[in-house]
Symmetry: C2
Subunit: 234 residues, 2 copies
């Protein structure tokens, strides 16, 4: 994931004078556009959108797309939450308390801050929280298998689907990224990515085939195995 | 607002063993329930839901319902955002950078951490960010005027509506609270409160009359003037 860090730091400083977020390619539809909102309201699968959406969060570090996604999903799964005085004795997962001695054994935070998480490491982080995560490398899957598994997961009340894709593959800047899926619209064959990098992009509707191809890309941090998706459940 | 701090610290420690969040009264409908989700999908006004929902955030301090709400609304208004390295040269408002020398002059952060914000101080904080905020104390308004102004604001693309209410008035624990409204459902005459205290409660659909009465309560931190609502626009 390192290329996206250096690449974006450059890009960011070049264009921020004129834009709050980066420009979206025509092929993507923002959730907070008139069309994107209508798509959610008429989407064929959206159960997970509500459970994840109330825990939507923004990654607080350039390499924390994984930890932000983990916090959202652990909250949505209603895994027992770390208590704190700042939450009045109740609790909530955030991008600090997702790191534990068990996750350090999977990938030390200091290393994660430099290189992010691969798909397999992401699964390991959930395992460290005693949550099941099944890895599906895109190269071992297919568009139809992904579409079917992802829509079923969006509709069920026991699992969530997370995608690890190359941003450049969907027309965004630019490297590997991780976020959960919230909904599926059948007419347009698009999934809603709840992108955790809100300063860069809004949540977007992306064509299933485009997303699959962006997952079916080699990750040099993972022995060139392809990216893919994760099904996470308690 | 001080009573809610001490009251909740007690309550929190009493019940957390059995619940992730506090129990909701029957009169409220959680957004992430089957019924609450259907209400959003068929709501008569929901434009602001999308702009606010992508910036949904959780208050990071027991007294920060105001700063969390301010961050959400400044992001949704697309006010120029503070840039940082952690956002790759882009920017996003959060519960740290909403505090500025100008907001210190409205209410110092150290004081806010003890007593939160009144409705009038909330408006002052937006003013300190050069954003217009019109105060409507409930005692000077009416249920009909509130419903009409709030639904219009939810639908327009220039303003957002924020409510300052007594939680006990809607059957929650317990003191004064601040959050934005996201949607309105006509059949049930309910507003969707995008509650920024996600460790306590999910976003809820509340009857307009119940919410108005909970706003029409005296705030001892504000010379016993009533709570109310704020219309915020650029
Ligand atoms: Ca549809
Ligand atoms: Ca699911
Ligand atoms: Ca309706
Ligand atoms: Ca509006």
């Amino acid at each position: 994931m390192r290329p996206f860090l250096s690449g974006l730091l450059l890009l960011g400083s070049a264009i921020v004078a004129s834009a709050e977020t980066l420009p979206l390619p025509q092929s993507l539809i923002a959730l907070n556009s008139a069309e994107g909102g209508r798509m959610l309201l008429s989407s064929e699968a959206n159960a997970d959108y509500f459970d994840l959406g109330i825990h939507f969060t923004n990654q607080v570090h350039p390499a924390f797309c994984g930890p932000a996604t983990i916090a959202m999903v652990l909250n949505a799964l209603e895994v027992e939450r770390p208590k704190s005085d700042m939450t009045l004795g109740l609790g909530l997962f955030d991008q600090e308390n997702v790191f534990t001695p068990e996750t350090e054994a999977v990938k030390p935070r200091a290393v994660l801050e430099r290189s992010g998480l691969t798909l397999d490491e992401l699964a390991g982080m959930f395992g460290a929280h005693s949550v099941q995560a099944k890895v599906h490398h895109a190269e071992d899957s297919s568009l139809d298998a992904f579409r079917s598994a992802a829509t079923a997961s969006i509709e069920d009340d026991v699992s969530f689907v997370l995608v690890n894709y190359l941003r450049a593959g969907i027309g965004q800047e630019r490297g590997g990224h991780i976020s959960p899926l919230g909904a599926y619209d059948a007419e347009t064959d698009r999934f809603l990515i709840l992108d955790v990098s809100r300063y860069k992009y809004p949540p977007v509707w992306v064509e299933a085939a485009t997303l699959f191809d962006a997952m079916n890309t080699p990750d040099s941090d993972n022995d060139n195995r392809s990216r893919g998706y994760l099904l996470v459940s308690r």
